[in-house]
Point group: D2
Chain length 248, copies 4
């Protein structure tokens, strides 16, 4: 586990972009699973700037790791729509380099990724409840591969899904799909990033408290190649442990 | 996870030896943590035959991953004594290539291995209770690094330790040391092997039942590079799952 | 460069087989280019024994690196026929794992291999004239990719080709195809092996004399991951250099 | 070989910095050999900005690959003085992470690097005469390891050395030291970069003309992991070849 602390959101975003670029600058195919959400907004601005119009990145293939279908529509779900807006469209990524996970194909996601050579890296955000991808407490277990989670899996999920699709309960799906903990851990590298004081407590639990399904991201530290990138506010809860490590 | 099933103990032993040799044939330093016990006896015979008198394997460094000190003695403990007999002495491994873990240095084992470049592979046997290294149910948790386990950690441990040192309770130590689950999972590769019908049930639990501290080896499948080598008897409990996988 | 010297042809053959097995024991796709000829006969016996009937090696893909077409026939050429006899048929390799290079597709060999993820290893024999694959002195230059060589490229080539196809000049082709030096050097690893006193001089030139197109294999030592496996007779010419290296 | 063309010097410099950062963001030790000169000035500005004050880069170790001693002085030579000014001092690199090559230790440079685990990447500029490091035409051969070059090795060298040390012939050394072609090619990755129209012709020769000691950098394309970064002016001479490649 390598922990990187940058001063603020801006520097954290640049460092995460540089970490991804480091993976992308290979001569052969690179498979990346990337995240939507608000934390990566600035990071994608750096990345778009470095990737757009560069044919030498045509070796890079992209995967979404979860999806919330929107009921009554036939287009992309919540995650792919967000990734299109944040990155794929402004960076002008070719469609043949984008490998969509959705409710129609999730049962084959793990084999498909294995056949493609495996993920070289997966970029994960973290929720205050310790979730990453769609692995919220109570929805999946460590041993799960890519799976679907029904809206009655845990209390409040139906409301959460309605909020995700824009607030209209009629558009909320019966279930969403997500790469499970076991699938995520198969990636050759995991990059976890977080920003802001609201994430300080969950980061401490993820990295230094017991490994438990109650805090799903606690499993990530078991990976042999985990890189954590934080701004100082998100690192507030691990200052003591981190200083020990830095002074080793 | 790659599951290899060989017909019998002899072929399983040869395949595990070949797996280790595959790691060893590099041009630069290779770090291996290897296991004592009865399962690897035949495997070490193959390995000694391939390694003895070969200067081109001087790039290979060895680590023991647990140790039971013998009270009232100043020499090696149970594990190192067994490794010496099984492999280091017959293969004529140079002492500077053997990195001993014991009760005096276990607190620095994880940093020492990191400074040496990390483990390239760790070879693990498995107990009927699901243990690997000294990680018996109730003694360590997934989040533990290299640690010590006291003889009152779980019921029966004092008797177990006495048996390990030859039956004399006066020679049984207060505690033993072991790389913990988190330390083991940092290895770039994990090789797990088992032989015989007594291991069929524990292998099934390790690979296909819930990931839980109650069956410590259940965590190993979360590693991105796990190779499991079994003889047919040890694979009896996973026939159904395995056939599904093979026919994918 | 790692130089491995074994006592005799038998041990050299076993070590080369173990080197290849080490590459093959991965969880994901492995691409190997392998050689025909007389030197690997014993090696393939070891390999067939370890590979036949093992579904866990279905991740391994094979490439021939040269081919001499047989005029007036529609079947395999000289190299593929030999590889079929030596290895593919006795080891029962599935046809979808065998990627044939021949006179119809050689122009696309380099792109095809790149698209497949590149070669993980290429196994090369060496001729007394310093050739490997079909790179005989005067036929190709270091900068050549996969190419064709006409039978009037160098004096005596027409006779050589006739001999290769069984002695009948009417069956000798106008040209043969071969991966060129630049293509071979793109492999992630090169394994060069040789046996017997007739190879002692060419091995010395390959490893310790000037790098020159006049001795094509002299380029191989420039590769960052070259492993050389010799029996003692083939290593006779490099005893002095080798002892210096061993005592470093 | 991956060829990256950026619009101008500024973008080329940023991309080279990102390539190096990609190597540096590992959890374990990274060994980089880096270049002095005028081409990397802007690149080091990016790098200093990303590295200064970042304890998470303490895993990165640096090597200079050539040195021109300054006669009559006891301090650093020309290359190390330049690297100190360009990078080590402004980035506040710890002295224990800087591994100096000079006239006193060049005979052991190759073994020292091998013992340190080998170079992960080497960053090379290119001269109009095709040289990289101190490998000027006529001074070294492909098969050379780290070596010394005397001032009478080729005509004009004495004058060149005098100019390098500031113009005073009394300060010009009898010889300089450099990693030779064989040593450079042992790096796991080679990054070659060039800027400006004066480099267009030498880049074309390096990448697409015959591999010959007369143009030393022509050997670099034989490496299995070569990345070339150019601005548009330096890429002018390879437009035709490059467009073919891009459209593949």
């Amino acid at each position: 586990m390598k922990i990187i602390v940058e001063r603020d959101y801006e520097l954290m975003s640049r460092t995460v972009a540089n970490l991804l670029l480091g993976e992308m600058f290979r001569n052969s195919r690179v498979n990346l699973a990337i995240t939507a959400g608000s934390t990566p907004v600035k990071m994608y601005q750096y990345l778009v700037n470095a990737v757009k119009g560069r044919p030498y990145f045509e070796n890079v293939h992209y995967y979404n790791f979860d999806e919330i279908p929107i009921k009554g529509t036939t287009g992309f779900g919540v995650t792919m729509s967000a990734l299109n807006d944040l990155y794929f469209m402004p960076a002008e990524i070719r469609s043949e380099n984008i490998h969509v996970l959705d409710e129609t194909n999730y049962r084959h996601q793990d084999e498909r990724i294995a056949a493609d050579g495996g993920l070289d890296a997966i970029l994960l955000g973290i929720g205050e409840d310790g979730h990453y991808c769609g692995n919220l407490p109570g929805t999946t277990k460590f041993e799960d591969g890519t799976t679907c989670v029904h809206r009655d899996a845990v209390p409040g999920m139906a409301e959460t899904l309605a909020a995700e699709v824009g607030g209209d309960p009629d558009r909320a799906p019966e279930f969403y799909v997500t790469m499970g903990p076991k699938s995520v851990m198969q990636s050759k590298r995991i990059i976890l990033f977080a920003s802001g004081p609201k994430k300080a407590e969950t980061i401490r639990k993820a990295l230094f408290d017991p490994v438990t399904n109650d805090h799903p991201s606690s499993i990530l530290r078991m990976h042999p190649s985990l890189t954590v990138v934080l701004d100082e506010a998100a690192a507030e809860g691990i200052k003591d442990e981190f200083h020990v490590k830095q002074s080793m």
